[in-house]
């Protein structure tokens, strides 16, 4: 056990993590020169990210040979954590956590289930957990963006929305433009990833597959498959969350709550 903890590969990984974190923190210090303070948030995020990925790595080592159903538990736990993280972007939105949970579970969950059923994602824990986690993580980011954008759009246009309500418009009608803007903004990263695939970046999954001996062409195609699934999961997540937050932004008496 001790041998495993101090094995040279782990030591190398931790050293590399330290150097990468130093690079990230150097940028934070540069930003500080412009009165942009991200020190505390970045240190916590770096430490938290490393701890979390090490824990999940250790769990993966343990469950690698376990029964397949354990992957469902792992993905469900990831979804809960993703919903909690994402909900912080929509602090003032009533019920941001359940909205995020339903949206990510519905969006990423549907795509994972459908693609696993179709044989695109393998049922082995080593396949479904990493690919599933990528879909959940990207759905989380898209959901966070949509909540944040929706909240700021509504708060910036509260006057227009209440004017439309005062003229007898339905709540859905008053926010349709802002829902569209939020939805489009939330999918920009997923669209850009697809657009720039192979030209600007070679994603980690493909690099990993090539390093572990998969034919490069198949690795490249499978990377496209993953990005297309990410787009589908993110898009479906945001469709669900925009529908749910639209309802929660108004009271039953059609009053704007998000002001």
């Amino acid at each position: 056990m001790v041998d495993r903890i101090v094995n040279p590969q782990l030591r190398l990984g931790l050293t590399q993590s330290g150097l990468a974190a130093l690079a990230a923190f150097a940028v934070v210090l540069l930003a500080r020169g412009r009165q942009i303070h991200l020190e505390r948030e970045t240190v916590i995020a770096l430490f938290r990210g490393l701890t979390q990925i090490m824990i999940i790595g250790s769990i993966l080592v343990l469950v690698l040979h376990g029964p397949r159903w354990t992957s469902v538990i792992i993905l469900a736990a990831m979804t809960m954590a993703a919903a909690a993280t994402s909900a912080r972007r929509g602090k003032k939105i009533p019920g941001a956590f359940p909205v995020s949970l339903y949206a990510i579970a519905g969006g990423a969950g549907c795509v994972i289930a459908l693609m696993t059923w179709a044989g695109v994602i393998g049922t082995a824990i080593t396949a479904i957990v990493p690919v599933g986690s990528m879909l959940i993580a990207n759905a989380m980011n898209a959901n966070g963006l949509v909540l944040d954008r929706f909240r700021s759009e509504i708060q910036a246009h509260a006057g227009q929305i209440e004017t439309a309500l005062a003229l007898g418009a339905s709540p859905e009608q008053t926010v349709v433009t802002y829902i569209q803007a939020s939805y489009q903004a939330s999918l920009i990263p997923a669209v850009d990833n697809l657009r720039s695939l192979g030209i600007v970046w070679i994603p980690g999954l493909m690099a990993g597959m090539v390093l572990s001996g998969a034919p490069p062409l198949y690795a490249a195609i499978y990377q496209f498959v993953v990005l297309a699934m990410i787009f589908a999961a993110s898009g479906l997540t945001c469709l669900i969350s925009t529908t749910l937050i639209r309802e929660r932004a108004f009271s039953t008496a059609e009053q704007l709550l998000l002001r």
């Binding site: 006057g159 227009q160 309500l165 007898g168 339905s170 008496a253 009053q255």
Partner: protein
Amino acid sequence: MMAASAPFLRIEHLCRTANGRSIIKDVSLEVHHGEVVAIVGPSGSGKSSLLRLLNRLDEPTAGTCFIEERDYREISPRMLRRRLGMVLQTPFLFAGTVGDNIRFGPSQRGESLTEEAVNQLLDQVSLPGFSERAVQNLSGGEAQRVAIARCLANEPEVLLLDEPTSALDDAVKRDVESLVQRIVIARRLTCLIVTHDLAQARRVAKRVVLLEQGRISRIGSPEEVFGGR
């Protein structure tokens, strides 16, 4: 049988608390059909909040309002807002043309105003031929007139005006003010106008309500509230 003098609006013990702060405290008021009532008071006294409660943009924490003796919470919010048309301090015109804005309210219930009806409304607010104008090219006074015409397109029974002239210069302010007076008389509307301009309240209203710290402190004719100057 309802008496002929039954109030059109009867506000009963209306209260609103938001973020732990009491904004409207036990406001009761009766407004008769065709009456023009000015609501005055210092900044933060709850004038606009009271109007928002009447349009049900906010929910009262206690009390209610009766419209022709019917509790307004029994009326669907959209119908209520059509009957009690509200013009906000900032016109908030929607992107597009003046005509698009005028048609907005009726279109929400599937009705489309004819070009003639739009032009008639624009004539009433002294903006003839403005139908095809883009809203971004309007002056402050013109925008406020469009907002009034847009509200009138819904054929409201009550006009709730929230400081409609506060952002306008004196000459334009008097124009909009006399326009409101003309419309209220021509359409036999009941009108509640919030203003911080006491001279304006004296000019337009038969009755004045003085709000202080969310509570009605005085009510009566302008002479009774402001003195006989």
